[in-house]
């Protein structure tokens, strides 16, 4: 249960980036989370209200985009998307794949803010 510290870190980073947009209101925060990031999306959402309370992010919406695992299959010679994380076999040829190309992402993609006219 490290989601609260992850969310707290998101709040810190977004707060820092707001310095360039004085008086802006945060409407939405968009994350990209890989299926192997080890983070429970429901828990992130559960923590969001608590972690943003009293900050410039209070009242904003958290939007999490989950990214599937993508492996490089040597046999097929291309990247393949896995349906889950229970088996690292190529869905086309059944070969086990060890070369991970996507799935551990844990990042803030973008934020949507409402700016005051004079700040534009």
């Amino acid at each position: 249960m490290h989601e609260l510290s992850i969310v707290a870190s998101v709040v810190d980073t977004v707060t820092e980036s707001l310095a360039a947009y004085k008086g802006a209101q945060v409407v939405e925060v968009r994350l990209r989370v890989g299926a192997l990031a080890g983070v429970v999306v429901d828990s992130l959402e559960f923590c969001w209200g608590i972690a943003t309370e009293g900050t410039a992010l209070e009242g904003s919406k958290l939007v999490v985009k989950t990214l599937p695992v993508v492996m490089h299959c040597e046999k097929c010679g291309r990247d393949v998307e896995l349906e889950g994380v229970q088996s690292f076999r190529c869905p086309n040829c059944g070969e086990l794949c060890g070369d991970l190309r996507q799935g551990r992402e844990l990042e803030i993609d973008s934020i949507e803010i409402d700016e005051l006219e004079e700040a534009v």
Partner: protein
């Protein structure tokens, strides 16, 4: 009011990742092989380390350990009996170790005087997977009492590991441990990962494990 989208594209654990990169550079400069041991509580990380530290020291290697727990210094006291330098990290409720805790607890230690540094993480197969400690090798442990499907239940951790150790092999038969199934499950989640089968109690499998450590240490910095 105008609405604007600001692209941030920043890693959420960027601070930890930056600190971990600094630690990694520091370990490489000192020539010390650093391993991060992760498992459920009770798998036998401390028992494996007790035996590993004693045997390494008996062979003239210089090894030290940092051990993470929520509370108590019981594990540090157990490990210190080997004669190796040991420090306890108490996280007071935090479910994992992070790079900042490691950096803080290494203060004053001469890393260049070490061949091996073992980091025993908090017993937890979920959260420690997200936190890079700058280690070269992440070792996941699984005991014969835990069930052969542990790798399937915790794919994030098993997939992020570089080596696996199956512990308590001396009681495998009594537990009805299905060795083939466990090996297959590990391989299904992390194809090709090195797997060791040990008993810290009888010493079974220790030679192969110690051989692996030596091999990794000699190839350090790669």
């Amino acid at each position: 009011m105008t609405t604007r989208i600001v692209e941030l594209r920043r890693g959420i654990l960027k601070k930890n990742d930056e600190l971990a990169a600094e630690l990694r550079a520091c370990y490489a400069a000192a020539g010390v092989l650093v391993l991060n041991l992760v498992s459920s509580p009770g798998t036998g990380k401390t028992a494996l380390l007790e035996r590993t530290l004693s045997e390494l020291r008996a062979h003239g290697s210089r090894a030290a350990a940092l051990v993470g727990d929520l509370e108590t210094d019981n594990d540090a006291r157990r490990l210190a009996a080997s004669g190796a330098p040991v420090r306890q990290i108490n996280t007071h409720g935090i479910c994992h170790l992070d790079a900042e805790m490691i950096g803080r607890h290494l203060d004053g230690w001469d890393l260049a005087g070490l061949d091996y540094l073992f980091i025993e993480n908090v017993g937890n197969l979920v959260c420690p997977s997200s936190y890079d400690l700058g280690e070269k090798i992440r070792v996941v442990l699984l005991s014969v009492t835990e069930g052969e499907d542990k790798p399937l239940k915790y794919p994030t951790m098993f997939n992020s590991a570089d080596a696996a150790v199956i512990t308590k092999m001396d009681i495998a038969e009594a537990c009805g441990f299905d060795r083939e199934l466990a090996l297959r499950n590990i391989n299904e989640i992390r194809p090709g990962m090195r797997i060791f089968e040990t008993s810290a109690k009888t010493g079974a499998g220790m030679e192969e494990w110690l051989g692996y450590l030596e091999e990794q240490r000699v190839g350090r910095g790669n």
